[in-house]
């Protein structure tokens, strides 16, 4: 049996796993909203691919969360039958798509964090966590490469594309701080060696973000204020609407197999 099961409170591990799964699920949902509507056919294909990776990762994280919880809930049960207050994703990923620049900046800021997190999780003391991370990090390395490249090209593109990317960055920046804040659950999984302490990812994240934004000729916003609440279930107004849409069939036809 993996060490994680025996040395820490299952509640903290469940909490951590739902945070990972909910981030993928909600961002995957947002990205999939672009289906057929992106600026160019290659982007339709790339976005569907990113969404597909994220939904696949959701199945793994929430599947394991259900197993750890031990109450017989499946990944689908967790995705489709929890209300907003039980969701643990970062506020950043539920932010509306906005224009394509907003979508790209949100993706880039998340990808840079996601990559560092998964890289660290490959060394998790919980073998199941390490295994999921090892699979997911390969996909996310590609997500980060793609979003970084587009940030650079559009930042250093036309006056309009730079202005749009800068506006998107200014708008999303205050939603990045939440990635690095720790609570008791974070401290418990970090102490057990299951996951890194959130603040230990900041330096590597900043290095990537600064380097890409500098090449993109974009300016990092001054403010250090961090909106927070997603990790403990206090969300923006947007999440309720995402869930109303996503969970509609499961809620309207309870107990039905699809």
């Amino acid at each position: 049996m993996a060490q994680g099961d025996t040395t820490i409170d299952r509640t903290a591990l469940f909490e951590f796993l739902t945070r990972m799964g909910d981030n993928s699920l909600i961002l995957g949902h947002r990205v999939s909203e672009w289906c057929g509507l992106s600026p160019v056919l290659e982007e339709d294909i790339a976005l569907a691919n990113v969404a597909l990776d994220l939904i696949g990762q959701t199945q793994l994280w929430l599947g394991l969360a259900g197993e750890v919880e031990g109450k017989g809930r499946t990944a689908d049960n967790l995705a489709y039958l929890r209300d907003a207050g039980a969701f643990r994703n970062l506020l950043l990923v539920e932010r509306p798509n906005g224009d394509f620049g907003q979508t790209l900046v949100r993706q880039f800021l998340f990808d840079a964090w996601h990559f560092e997190m998964l890289t660290a999780l490959k060394k998790s003391t919980d073998a199941r966590v390490a295994e999921i991370a090892a699979k997911a990090v390969k996909e996310v390395a590609y997500h980060l490469e793609r979003s970084s490249d587009l940030i650079i090209r559009l930042g250093d593109g036309t006056d309009e594309s730079r202005a749009r990317m800068q506006a998107a960055l200014d708008d999303q920046w205050s939603y990045t701080g939440e990635m690095f804040l720790a609570d008791d659950a974070d401290r418990a999984v970090a102490a057990a060696g299951i996951a890194p302490a959130p603040d230990t990812l900041r330096a590597a994240w900043e290095k990537v973000v600064k380097s890409v934004l500098s090449e993109a000729t974009l300016t990092i916003p001054d403010g250090s204020y961090a909106h927070k609440g997603g990790k403990r279930g206090v969300h923006t107004e947007h999440l309720g609407f995402i869930l109303a849409q996503m969970q509609f069939l499961q809620r309207a036809y309870p107990g039905t197999t699809w």
Binding site: Q59, A79, R153, Y253, T257
Partner: protein
């Protein structure tokens, strides 16, 4: 069929004796089932007809993302969501192969898109119908992709090389799409009364529009005769429609669903089903822009294109800057 009523500019099909030597040699190659490749000589009408056909097919793939994309965010399980995403991604990929095949005939993707956006080129009538319930994801896969396969399998043997090779790849993916659609239908038909009612309703709404996908009878159409002679069309619309009905009726029976056609019956003599024709007035209304979703579908594509102009301009500007920097660096180094 994703290309309907493609015009050929012909007023009748010429005989070999009436052709100039170059055209005659071309037709004889087609008659011998040789493939025509991009750089080779071809009659101008063959080229323009293929551009219309491949372009219309490509447009259908990309507009076709929309009715299914409509349910991705509401898919009932994570697995169904992943499958639907993969499927819609395939459709975009098909659009890409087909635009590339059209480019080999000397027309750019941007030119074709401009014609789509301005209404000069069409996409398949089927995508102007709404997807109202989850069962429609099943019906679209089963019937719409089923009808598309019926047309596209013979097109793997079409005379134009790049189109034929694109079709080989597309057909493999389409058959997976049809299976996933049928799988949704099986699940719903074996499910609750609500689900079965949804499945029957989806069949009722998609049956006749699916029959329309093959286009009106073209037994007397000079355009079809010319396309058949060039082997860019392999069967007539009626032959394909008959094959589709014959294939689909037993599948509906297996699901326990009723085809919404009181006239449907097995005809021993012809070895196929007799069935009612769709309402062709409705078809021409939809083609003319009056289908239930024409405005939304085309409007969504035009908006996506217009909203994305800054993105495409930004990438182009960056590419130019990067090229200038490379040149400057090279000069400095010399």
């Amino acid at each position: 069929m994703y290309a309907q009523m493609v015009k050929t500019d012909a007023d009748r099909v010429k005989t070999l004796d009436e052709m100039a030597p170059q055209e005659r040699a071309f037709q004889e190659r087609i008659d011998r089932n040789e493939k025509i490749e991009p750089k080779e000589w071809m009659p101008e009408a063959y080229r323009t007809t293929l551009i219309r056909q491949i372009g219309q097919h490509a447009h259908s793939e990309i507009v076709g993302q929309l009715p299914e994309g409509n349910w991705i965010t509401r898919a009932p399980t994570l697995e169904r969501k992943a499958i639907l995403l993969a499927k819609v991604q395939d459709e975009a990929g098909h659009g890409l192969y087909l635009y590339c095949a059209a480019e080999t005939l000397g027309v750019s993707r941007d030119e074709l898109l401009e014609k789509l956006h301005s209404g000069k080129m069409k996409y398949s009538s089927i995508f102007n119908y709404p997807t109202l319930t989850w069962a429609d994801m099943g019906a679209v896969g089963w019937l719409v992709d089923g009808a598309a396969i019926m047309n596209q399998v013979p097109l793997q043997r079409t005379s134009y090389g790049p189109y034929s090779r694109a079709m080989v790849r597309i057909c493999k993916e389409e058959s997976f799409h049809q299976r996933q659609g049928y799988d949704i239908m099986m699940k719903m038909c074996a499910g609750t009364a609500d689900q079965k009612a949804m499945a029957q309703d989806a069949l009722n709404r998609f049956w006749y529009p699916s029959l329309m996908m093959f286009g009106p009878s073209d037994a007397d159409s000079v355009h079809s005769a010319q396309s058949l002679a060039w082997k860019i069309k392999v069967d007539t619309n009626d032959e394909l429609r008959q094959k589709f009905v014959d294939q689909t009726v037993p599948q509906a029976k297996y699901l326990g669903l009723t085809i919404p056609d009181a006239e449907l019956k097995w005809n021993e003599e012809k070895g196929g089903y007799d069935f009612s024709q769709p309402d062709w007035d409705e078809f021409f209304d939809v083609i003319a822009g009056n289908g239930p979703c024409n405005k939304e579908r085309l409007g969504a594509r035009v908006k996506a294109w217009d909203d994305g102009a800054w993105y495409r301009d930004g990438l182009t500007a960056h590419a130019q800057k990067a090229a200038t920097r490379r040149t400057t660096a090279k000069i400095a180094a010399e």
